[in-house]
Amino acid sequence: MRKLLLAALLIAGTAQAVSAAETVDPQKDLKSFREYFTSRFPKVQLDDFVNGPYSMDEGLRAQWKAIDEFPPYEFAIEKGKEMFATPFKNGKSYGDCFADKGIGVRQNYPYFDTDKGEVITLELALNRCRQANGEQPYSYTKDEMSALTAYMAFTSRGKRFDIKIPNDPRALAAYKKGEEYFYTRRGQLNFNCATCHVQNPGNHIRTEVLAPALGIVAAMPIYRSNWGGMGTFSRRITSCNTQVRASSLPPQDELYRDVEYYLTYMGNGLPVSGPGARP
């Protein structure tokens, strides 16, 4: 009897997977995703979701407003501006690798590269730019990379996220993998991203107020007081993994890029608010 039950569940499971692959509808997903948060938090303005925990807690917002008059990421923006303007040894510069000379383009990342068949994040694009011009790549979790992306985010502030999912089965598969990553429980503590950011935004985990998943990457890179410095999405997700006792993957692992693709797409239409400051 148990064997039959297990078999039935397995069949149902696989049947679901097959039908899901046949009908991937990111636009529909985005609508449901957004509506979940706007109906759960009717008093929060749509654009305000990009402010993460500050949209959820008045006391925290007041502290943030005070800090924001003199934001801790100012040093990173200045450093990034200088780095961005400095040409490589071969005379070329970062601007040559990007549309619009790399100014005001943050809202288009990540994108799906149909030639390479993979998701390209801003950080990956920057390092590939460096390597294509004979320079050593930067670490994805240290200050140089986040200084560059802090400057690029700053030049794009206010622009609405516009992540595209081309009608290409590989792009849809990457989007779907990203969704799967987001909702898969991991680590010995058995959390998925949704545990904190879908089920519990506005609630506390230890002393932190949890941010809603809607627009959660809009403020990247962030200065985290906790870190005493800047960090990229890679830095945050690797530490999230460790916090639930899951071994982290390499910073620009395909899975991480896929989930960044999925999450950023879910925040389409919301404004770039980076670089951000978080507790």
Partner: protein, 103 residues
């Protein structure tokens, strides 16, 4: 090299509100690096704000203050165009100062 000091001073009525962000590692001397060795203490000890030849605010900092410290205070006096001098000295004898105009 750019100054480590950012300051914004705004005159408001008979008082001036000052905010300052100072770039400094503020190593307490108690934290270990990835090799397990103590990072030596390197932190600001005194910050002084001067206006009209007088010290209007002194901050005595130490290992408990975090990296890139931020301070905000008000002092009586000061008007738009006046100069405000900010200077700091750390435990290694390093220092920096900046003169800013009150807005």
């Amino acid at each position: 090299m750019a100054s480590t000091i950012r300051v914004r001073a705004v005159a408001n009525g008979d008082a001036t509100e000052v905010q300052s962000l100072i770039q400094h590692p503020m190593d307490s001397g108690f934290i270990k690096d990835s090799k397990g060795e103590l990072i030596p203490a390197h932190h600001i000890e005194v910050v002084t704000f001067e206006h009209g030849g007088k010290t209007v605010f002194t901050a005595l900092w130490g290992p408990a203050v975090s990296k890139d410290p931020y301070v905000k205070f008000k002092f009586k006096g000061g008007k738009k165009g006046d100069e405000l001098k900010v200077s700091w000295v750390d435990n290694k004898g390093k220092s920096d100062s900046l003169v800013a105009k009150i807005q």
